[in-house]
Symmetry: C2
Subunit: 455 residues, 2 copies
């Protein structure tokens, strides 16, 4: 393990943080076309940084959507393993903007945390990897293993073009194993190895009643209210025990073993109330909140809207109502099949007098699990424990990373999910942040891991 | 009946329509403070018009909110009756603006209809009264009865300051009877006397879960989704038979008599599908759509919103969800009591894990009914029938006009609801319009009515 690499990181901490700040200052929001230029700027930032580090080959690849950054280092020799490092440089929208204490794209450090959109998901964690590569090159003059870098700009919009790239350019991207840092620890400074991820699928429901908003006095009592119709549909899909009541939704879901319930129980930190501000946690009947979030499928309405939203009252029967729904899936559930079940249920319960349309979202992924005793996983856990000076816990989590499913599907190689985020990072929300502790110890973890790999 | 007055109206039709256009061109939206100047401009328009007509006294009254226009004509002699004419010059918001075929405040005539916000509700109908007064003054040099004019600028926001004015200035506003033209006919060119109006009340429900939007992967399964919680609450308030399932909601509602069902049945025009575009009408179990809209209480969700509404998907559990609800009430229902029943029901069924707040809207009104055989009503029906050359029908309708309840409450005088709108006017919606037929025949109705009064 190379002391001078760690020394480089601590001696150059300020310059590295400054570099990170300028990366986070680029509003690379992928879902909104007005940020097209910012997306390109973020891609160029990565391209020039990777070139400066000294990668043999660095290129921006045209995906048809936002550019993908590919880089390759192959001077570790043919006997050294090759890792495929994946990350993404795009970020979520920032609305509601008024809830941010500091501007989302003006990074600010408060109480040991770095506040900025993307600080945790995922620009901050991508940067840690690049900084560690820089440290190795500027001290030992080489990297301890061969590296392929794949950083995309479309993760937050479903990685629409990534599968095609990974599939069509298999020779270029192929490696012995993959490492991804786009996840988190179960609590701050608690080394956490993710050995399972949930799958994902989504639909949008559009209910149309009258062809224009109606005066509720003239027509109230004659037509079905689209919002009420949508309420009846949605209320029939999940009951107050948080059990999804859509026929077949749980078919094929493998039951939680006592051993896994034990593993989940051992995960420290009942952090839900503290980090969300809810007065009590609520979870699927028969399961704890930890079990439900980590290992049971979920059904969430992400947004719903219809009718008047302005000041005061407006006495109308609205013309339309819309709901956006996403489900997190576990092994045994097929995303496309779940979409069909949801659609069938909706048409089955839809009230008369309205037209109901179900739009299936393209974005979807199967759930993923890897054997916790895989040597690459064990080495990661060891480096993690040493850097944070704490035993590593193994968990499954509710997040979905489509690329994980695709890498397994196309390359069939082990995937190490080495994430340094924390439950308080507020991903996808106002005031996203990342602890500087995770920044420092996370980079140390990576330095140790790359060294471990070649032992 | 004065032929020359009618002649004046037909000879000066173009000039009168031009005048109306400039009145409608003023965006006097009362709910939005950015239109404060436009409100004042509309008030000044009326003040100068009334002065030009030759009213003895014309003044803008400071209500604390938007100004109220008062005018008085008292030269018909002490033996002539005095009418209180009420109307409003404020209009509803225009959103969604993109659905307007022509600009809401650039009046345009298409296929015999005048398109503009306020053309029917209520600036267009207010203008007809002023034009008829002008016609009388410019031909006979006097009005056939004494007139008090009360035109407010806050009807669309609940006439917040009107009750106080009517109450505190009783001597100034007092009259023998009142006439209001802020309603419509059951079908185009079908003379319609409104002898009953619904009451009105409203609430807003705010559901709060987590204190910020959460990543649905990290927290899905641990917290209650506020939108789903609100769905369960709302779905429990009205069932798919369109029956309100809130305890006590129908208490005191007088049953529909066979005679009234007969009256309602005789109202021509199953116009609901045609004018709304719904594939079928839906009404309270046991009642026809006409019976429900005219004579049974209603419960409508006017707007609902929570979470993400933008392009694409955003995988969050939203922090809050909101619904705006208004009910139309019939005789026997008390608005304040209904608000209490709704609030009690909501807190009763509210799921755990969220905070539910109910805001009671100030705007409310009791239902109103007048005897159809009142002589003032009969004379109105006669003039109406002669002008439109068709038998007048007597109906109750679902609209609510708080001022009607207040005039009855404070002055205890008969109120004649003489409305010339039509079911296709799209009140409160994009592309509001008013038929020029109603404009011409409506003014003739008024000319005949004022003459009738003094027979």
């Amino acid at each position: 393990m190379s002391e001078q690499v760690l020394q480089y990181l601590s001696e150059n901490r300020k310059q590295l943080l400054d570099k990170l700040h300028s990366f986070l200052s680029i509003p690379s929001v992928s879902t909104d076309s007005v940020h097209k230029q910012d997306i390109n700027e973020a891609a160029e930032y990565l391209e020039s940084y990777l070139k400066k580090i000294g990668f043999d080959k660095v290129e921006q690849q045209d995906t048809g959507g936002h550019p993908l950054i590919f880089a390759e280092y192959n001077q570790a020799g043919s006997d050294a393993p090759t890792v495929l490092f994946y990350g993404h440089y795009d970020v979520q929208p920032v609305d509601p903007i008024e809830e941010w204490k500091s501007e989302p794209f003006k990074p600010e450090v408060r109480d040991g945390r770095l506040y900025a959109r993307g600080s945790s998901d995922d620009k901050g964690q991508v940067f840690m990897h690049l900084a560690v590569f820089e440290a190795y090159m500027n001290t030992e003059g080489k990297l301890p293993l061969n590296v392929k870098v794949c950083i995309e700009g479309e993760e937050e919009i479903g990685s629409e073009n990534l599968y095609k790239t990974l599939h069509d350019k298999k020779d270029q991207f192929d490696a012995d194993f993959a490492v991804i840092s786009d996840s988190g620890m179960v609590s701050e400074n608690q080394p956490t190895i993710l050995y399972g991820l949930k799958g994902f699928t989504g639909i949008e429901i559009n209910v149309t009643g009258p062809d224009h908003d109606l005066h509720s006095g003239m027509y109230g009592g004659a037509v079905r209210n689209p919002i009420m119709a949508l309420n009846h549909i949605l209320a029939s899909m999940k009951n107050e025990d948080e059990v999804v009541t859509v026929d077949g939704f749980y078919d094929g879901v493998e039951p939680l073993t006592e051993h896994e319930r034990e593993l989940i129980k051992n995960v420290q930190g009942e952090y839900y109330e503290a980090s969300t501000g809810v007065n009590e946690t609520v979870s699927e009947k028969g399961y704890t909140a930890k079990e439900h979030t980590m290992a049971r499928p979920t059904f969430e309405i992400n947004g719903m809207y219809g009718g008047y939203q302005g000041e005061g009252t407006k006495t109308i029967i609205p013309s339309t109502a819309t709901a956006k729904i996403t489900c997190r899936l576990v092994p045994g559930q097929d995303p496309a099949k779940i979409q069909e079940l949801l659609e069938a249920h909706i048409h089955n319960v839809a009230p008369t007098g309205v037209t109901v349309e179900v739009k299936k979202e393209k974005l979807s992924a199967k759930a993923y699990k890897v054997a916790p005793d895989n040597p690459l996983i064990k080495k990661a856990a060891k480096s993690y424990s040493e850097a944070f000076d704490k035993e590593t816990v193994y968990v499954r989590m509710g997040g979905s990373i489509p690329v994980v499913e695709w890498i397994e599907d196309i390359y069939n190689i082990p995937i190490v999910l080495l994430g340094f985020g924390t439950p308080d990072d507020r991903l996808h929300s106002p005031n996203e942040s990342f602890p500087l502790d995770s920044f420092d110890k996370g980079m140390e973890t990576l330095v140790r891991y790359w060294a471990e790999i070649n032992d």
